[in-house]
Amino acid sequence: MLPFAVAMTDLTHIRNFSIIAHIDHGKSTLADRILEMTGTVAERDMKEQLLDKMELERERGITIKSQAVRIAYTARDGQTYQLNLIDTPGHVDFTYEVSRSLAACEAAVLLVDATQGVEAQTVANAYLAIDNDLEIIPVLNKIDLPAADVAEAELELHELTGASHEEILLVSAKTGEGVVDVLEAVVGRAPAPSGDPAAPARALIFDSEYDQYRGVIAYVRVVDGHFARRQLIRMMGTGQQAEVEELGFFGPDMKPAERLETGEVGYIITGVKDVAHVRVGDTVTDARRPAGEALPGYKVVRPMVFTGLFPTEGDKFEDLRDALEKLKLNDAALSYEPESSSALGFGFRCGFLGLLHMDIVRERLEREHDLELITTLPNVEFHVYLTDGTLQVVRNPAEMPDAGRIERVEEPFVSASVIVPSDYVGAVMELCQGRRAEFVDMKYLSPHRVEMHYRLPLGEIVLDFFDQLKSKTRGYASLDYEFWGYRESDLVKLEIVLAGQPVDALSLIVPRERAHARGRMLVEKLRQKIPRQLFEVPIQAAIGNRVIARETIKAKRKDVLAKCYGGDITRKRKLLEKQKEGKKRMKQLGVVEVPQEAFLAVLELDAGDQSR
């Protein structure tokens, strides 16, 4: 039994810390080692990437959701400390998760893969930690690998954090070498929590999880006072009151306790079912002795990328709604609103943090909820100012007003930072130029590595920018970006007209100077993807009424099996029945049957279009 499960730990023996790193630099592995070495998890229960609970996280090797775990660590000074470790995601899409977790900590282990050096999310996360006044413990990982370049990576870490040679720890999360030093540094360098045990209780909700039986599970960091079972609590933001049904900590499974003390990290369950009433970023207090002031919360995260999700089978709309509702319970950043498309029927326009987020949500919908989905081309949120002076927010290209009513269109820009070996500076510049990017500045992290800053339309990044960047720099570049602001651009709506009918699900908003090339490529792609039909099918790309590209799918000239006598009837009927079954995977647009793949043609277009 862990000593503090029953006994209270005084503030001076608590340390709350995160591990922050660029993706794949070894957070999850380091967390595994720590859990193992401190006996938090018995050896027989140890599995890799232990804190990645979701099947999807394990399979993809990425952390999507933060996890908090309480660890008992007996340090070299002979004292036992309560360490609360919060594992965080490393992908740019999930930066908001990191920032929330950091608010619950006093220290951050900044982990850098010594074979890679400082990367874009290393920088972004380091700044987040600095903004949150955290003690940064710089660590170089993977020193067991021959490719580790400790000297270079150390130099970069020094540039980034100002840390001295002595302060930078060298570890191998894989072999366990140096991991104890990390724990010692947490105990020795990280400050103890500074809350007031006697003050009215306050805790920050830094994350939440929805359990279908127990309702909302709030992840909290107690800042002042304490919380106990049966206590009546209040959410300061929403005003929701409830009795604490259960509270406790993660070890790493949920372990109920009697109390959560000042400085501790744990969970609270009240039986409240509605996530809207237990908001992440809100402050929990004692309803009978409420605190005067709420803790600083977080910025509400806003989806940046939008796409239409449609069930391939029309009657699955309600199932999709239910599934989205369930996912939303655990994913505050996901947004969705019903949308109807003449091409794809009823579905939802969904908002995501980025493409990885979109990908994960779609995969979870398909896997966990057994849905088959068509995704339309992702796009950003456009601000369209109309001639009558009003602003229309457009998240779906089909909703773009007529050109005649538009005064100007603004699109979101991001400031992006790219870290790359200096040899590839030219390649990055070339790529960015083709993306309507504006160069801001560039600085050397070390003699060999450069951090470049750009301002560019988010719409240029969402599809394949990252892949292109990787391929043009042989995998060496890393990217981070954040929202910068809206800015006017010369954009037009490109419409696809199939057999005389505009197909809303295939329209897109593109920079005017690229409209022709895009239109031509798109109709060509569609011609390849749409099989010949019984009828001739003209495909046109148009801006307004002006057709800018055109292709024709010729009608099928022959489709009939030559022989059908007494012995062939069954086989032949089954063949037709099978073909009919196969058509379920087609969308009927007027008389045209369009395979699902055709809707992805627009996606491929961008991936294949390297010339831009």
């Binding site: 009828f535 022959k558 059908c564 009837i569 063949l575 037709l576």
Partner: protein, 410 residues
């Protein structure tokens, strides 16, 4: 009026599968066994080894027995069409053919259509004389009049097909059909024109001209042949249809063409979804909602229908008379049975009618029809709709499979 069910009513059509060939052709996926031939001086071809003729005799007996069993089991009225297909039925030789014919003779109606398939090689003088005497319709497997095309199909070099047609005619055969194939690897429009020219000269009563179907698993398919492209095959097909129509044939089914009054009545019965019995290994029968196929194995087939003395139990076995397997009675061969529900039957009705462009009352197929599919097909000229009946047009016939798939309800 009650909707008429497919394959309902008394049986009036019989098919006999004769599963023997002199050699296998590379493109063929019919069930047949190879019987090596020796050609006697000026006489009928006979199996090379005398031992090989015993199975042929037993086969004829087994078919006769199956026919007796089937007549007892089903309502069989006067047989209007009887079709000996294969394989190569003519390989049986006229003696056995006559015996086989006699097994059915009593049930044939006055103007019954009796067809025998043959290859030019087996259509010798004796066969021609027999066919004329029995007023049998002959379906001659030519495939192409060009030896080069026959070689591309992997068909054994054969006697001149034109000579075979002339021989049959000279003997007095009154109804001759020729089987041809288009879409052969390497086949050009000129090659098809050549076949058309020969047809113009021979003037058979009926032509079945199929597009080559490269069936997976056949030796031809294993050669990965370069068949003409989709568009080329579509063009060859149209060339065939137009060419034959110019010669005075009517295009009455996807691959079948006849001079007036010379349609293959037996095959028309399938396309009108009439009930039929199929005898012989691999043959299929459909009566009402039941369809079955005799196992495609001649040994099993004969063993079930004709338990010869060799198969009878020995005296020791007779000491245990309770053994249910002895003494053995002729019984139907092993069969694969499929039961056809109303919707399946309706779909087949539609599918078969599409091949001939025959009208189907909407009421008969409504449960399996996608009501929204009709109008666009009519608008495109692929389907016609008159007084509650739909009909696949000539234009639609070329794409009849796709038309059916569109018409079927999801």
């Amino acid at each position: 009026m009650q909707p008429r069910d497919a394959f309902a009513g008394p049986v009036r059509h019989v098919y006999v599968h004769v599963p023997f060939c002199a050699a296998r052709c590379d493109y063929c996926d019919f069930y047949s066994e190879v019987v090596p031939l020796r050609r006697a001086e000026g006489g009928a071809p006979e199996p090379a080894k005398p031992a090989a003729s015993a199975p042929l005799d037993r086969f004829v007996d087994a078919v006769s027995t199956e026919w007796e069993l089937e007549r007892a089991a089903h309502e069989v009225h006067g047989v209007r069409t009887l079709y000996f297909g294969g394989g190569t039925p003519a390989l049986l030789g006229v003696g056995r053919l006559e015996r086989l014919y006699q097994a059915f003779a009593a049930q044939l109606t006055a103007h019954a259509e009796v067809t025998v398939e043959t290859n030019p090689d087996e259509a010798d003088e004796a066969f021609a004389v027999w066919a004329a005497r029995r007023d049998v319709r002959i379906s001659l497997g030519v495939q192409s009049f060009l030896p080069r095309m026959r070689a591309a199909l992997g068909r054994r070099p054969a006697a001149d097909p034109s000579a075979a047609v002339r021989r049959l005619r000279a003997a007095g055969v009154r109804d001759i059909s020729v089987d041809l194939i288009h879409g052969i690897p390497g086949q050009t429009a000129d090659d098809v024109d050549h076949d058309l020219a020969v047809l113009a000269d021979l003037a058979p009563d009926h032509v079945s001209w199929y597009e080559l179907d490269v069936v997976p698993g056949t030796p031809l398919a294993r050669r990965h042949p370069q068949v003409p492209s989709d568009d080329e095959r579509a063009a060859l097909y149209r060339q065939v249809v137009r060419g034959l129509e110019r010669l005075g044939y009517r295009w009455y089914e996807v691959s079948n063409f006849a001079r007036p009054g010379r349609r293959a009545r037996h095959n028309v019965a399938y396309w009108r979804a009439r009930p039929y019995l199929g005898l012989g290994p691999g043959a299929v029968s459909t009566v009402g909602g039941r369809r079955w196929r005799d196992a495609a194995d001649v040994a099993d087939y004969v063993a079930a229908l004709d338990p010869s003395p060799r198969d009878l139990p020995s005296p020791q076995d007779l000491s245990s008379p309770r053994d249910p397997s002895s003494p053995r009675e002729p019984s139907p061969p092993p069969r694969e049975v499929e039961s056809l529900g109303r919707e399946t039957l309706a779909r087949e009705r539609l599918m078969l009618a599409a091949r001939c462009g025959s009208a189907v009352p909407l009421a008969d197929v409504r449960p399996v029809l996608d009501p929204g599919a009709v109008a666009p097909l009519v608008a495109a000229g692929l389907l016609s709709l008159h007084s509650g009946r739909i009909r696949v047009t000539r234009k639609g016939r070329y794409v009849g499979d796709e038309v059916c798939v569109r018409l079927f309800r999801a």
